[in-house]
Amino acid sequence: MSLSPVINIAGSISSLIQVMSESKENQRGKERQSDPFLARAVRRLAPVVLAILTILHRAFVSPISGFFSRLWRPVGKRVDRHRMIIVWAVRRTIIAVAQLLGILTILYFFFDVVAVSASTTETFVSVTTGWWTFLSNMFTGQWGMISIADVVPIPTAQYVGYYLPYSIELAVLALLISVCVAYPIGLLSGWHRGRYLDGSVRGYTAVWLFFPAIIFGFFLMIFLYGPFLSYTGDSLTSLFGTLPSIQWFDANGGPPSWIGQTYGNTTPTGFPLIDAAWNGSWSAEWVIFMKVMLEAICIAASYVALFLRFARNATVEATKAEYLRAGRARGIPDRSLLWRHAGRRVIPLYIFTIGNTFGTFIVIQSTVEFIFDSHGALYLLLFSGGSSLILGGLQSEQALLIVIIFLISIVIIAANIVAEVVAMALDPAWLSEKEKEGR
């Protein structure tokens, strides 16, 4: 009985397959004749290997495959629910197109009918040439040229493209932080209702309602970001809001080639965090990361309060479900009831809430990007809005405002639909509720 402590799993699996493929008698005969030791080892190790494989499968493969199989083939009346979800998604998409048309019409009304003083220029989004032209221009991406700060005009789509990656990067980080904080805290406060944690969550959501992100960001900037800026040599009004400024690089021999000189865009991907690492500029990477994290924390602090305000009641409802009481009566420990059963039940509710509050998330992010002077597309929303505030602004900035609002509307509506459909696929009870509601 000498089992080697070092097990070559691949070898075992291949020999296991070999063994399994042969008939039993043959196998026995062969083993005795050729290599009895290896055969015995394989026979003894087979259950161990199978157990390891099962554990690995349970841990890594089945959650993912289970998620997708539930997504596309919900349990129960499979075909019916599948079809109902698709019908629902299609219906929502049609409504979304109508909503988008409505928003564009409002934009057209605002900028064409209300702002009568606006003069026509061919280079920008032609609001003044008629509703139909405006709509088709918006949907076909003919957003005209843009010239801000006396530089050579470039296509608006390209201009927005320079600023978009930063916003995406920041939104992903902020949402990740928010989810990592809000999920356990929301679940625990709903579970221990009326206790200390629940009370503090209620207090937090109440306080943060009147402590908006712009003020919190301002305080963060005073206490952390101001000293940080003076350390890195950046300035609040520089073009390189995100990046280490030109002055910062001057000390190290001039700005590098991977930062665009005019628009502050980075190459090759456009995402500053990735590009700095790609080009091996680790000091720049550190500065960018610090700033993005600071902004993400600022956004998350506001968004978590908003999210918990919406999600708390849903969590309380979910934790009052009958089957949890039945599970407790059967002796399932509270911890597994909370994290496995209730924890899974609230996931669709939370996804739905994220979709529902995504518009507010974008508003929070735009104020934070503005107060930190970031290089993001949502900074452009407030920048173009603010520039347009004075005497109707320039045509170029108004056109930029229209384009950014159009893009934001698409993102918000898409987030709504995706969140609703995913929540429904995960929890078919939602669908029947919606059917009952009749809308």
Binding site: I95, Q99, G102, I103, I106, L107, F110, F111, V114, A115, S117, R193, G194, D198, R202, A206, V207, L209, F210, F211, P212, A213, I214, I215, F218, I222, G226, S230, L236, G359, T360, I362, V363, T367, F370, I371, L381, L382, F383, G385, G386, S387, S388, L389, I390, L391, G392, G393, Q398, L401, I405, I408, S409, I412, I413, N416, R439
Partner: protein, 326 residues
Amino acid sequence: MMGKGRSHLVRRVREYLHHKELMAGTIILGIYVLIGLAAWAYYRGGLSYLTPDLGVYLGYHNPVPPTLTLYPFSLGSFTLGQTGGLGFSVAEGLVKGTPWDLMLFAGILVPTTLLGLVVGVIAGGSGGLVDDALMTVTDVVLSIPPFVVALLVFVVILPGIASNEIPLVFVASMVLINWAPYARLSRAKAKTIAAKPFVEAAAAAGANKGRILFRHVLPNSVSPVLSQVPITLSNLIILLTVIPYVGIVTSQQYLHILSFMPSTYFPEWTWILVNGMLGWHVSFSSNAWWGYVIPFLWIFVFGLSVLLFCDGLEDFLSPQSGSQTH
């Protein structure tokens, strides 16, 4: 009958007085209202204009810090506008702004709540085609982010109208933007109320549809709507802070058009807050903390008092109001 009604009223008043959340909100809100009334009675004609403090012009680099001694008591002063502008006292600005801000918030929140409530009750109470039509309109309004529409109002509408009409147009546009969530909430409640036996009894007794909706369904649908009021107030404060801040930073101009106000030296809480913030923004070294900390706390406490009042009232008006357990 009379005696029973009176004892019920006395019981309700006693419940009100013993409701901690509601009483805290009422007292703080009452203090704000008293300050507003006192400012209105004291300043009269000068209420709509910030008078220069100490009779001197202050730059950003020489704001006067607060003196917290008994006399002379001051919350500090700083410049409104860019360097060399009008210097004014923080305390005076906040006190003078109180009646205007209370009127502004009440003027937006009350009509918004009423409009949403009426639309929701009509939709939920009548059902059928009316419900579908009203809720479709509500859904369309809900799908548009209020902040973006408000930005458009500031960019396109407000610059084009006379300065004394700006506050009215601003209030009207805010009401039109914000009523939809109230309709959603009150519709859900009205639907459950309309299915209750006492509504059927009223219909059987011969009450017409309008009477049922507005005498029986509406008073019972008020409570869920109140939870939305602080959220709208919060959005309003965010809007009134962000727009002037963004406008001044991008345009480098101090114009009344950046807020809803009729003139640049009009006392308004968020305008004072933003000016305090920008004093820091212009140069890091002139850190006049009283320019933003004190106005922020002033607005923050007001917001919390409204939150306490609305949450308490919601609890007080709901049927099981005796218990304060959460």
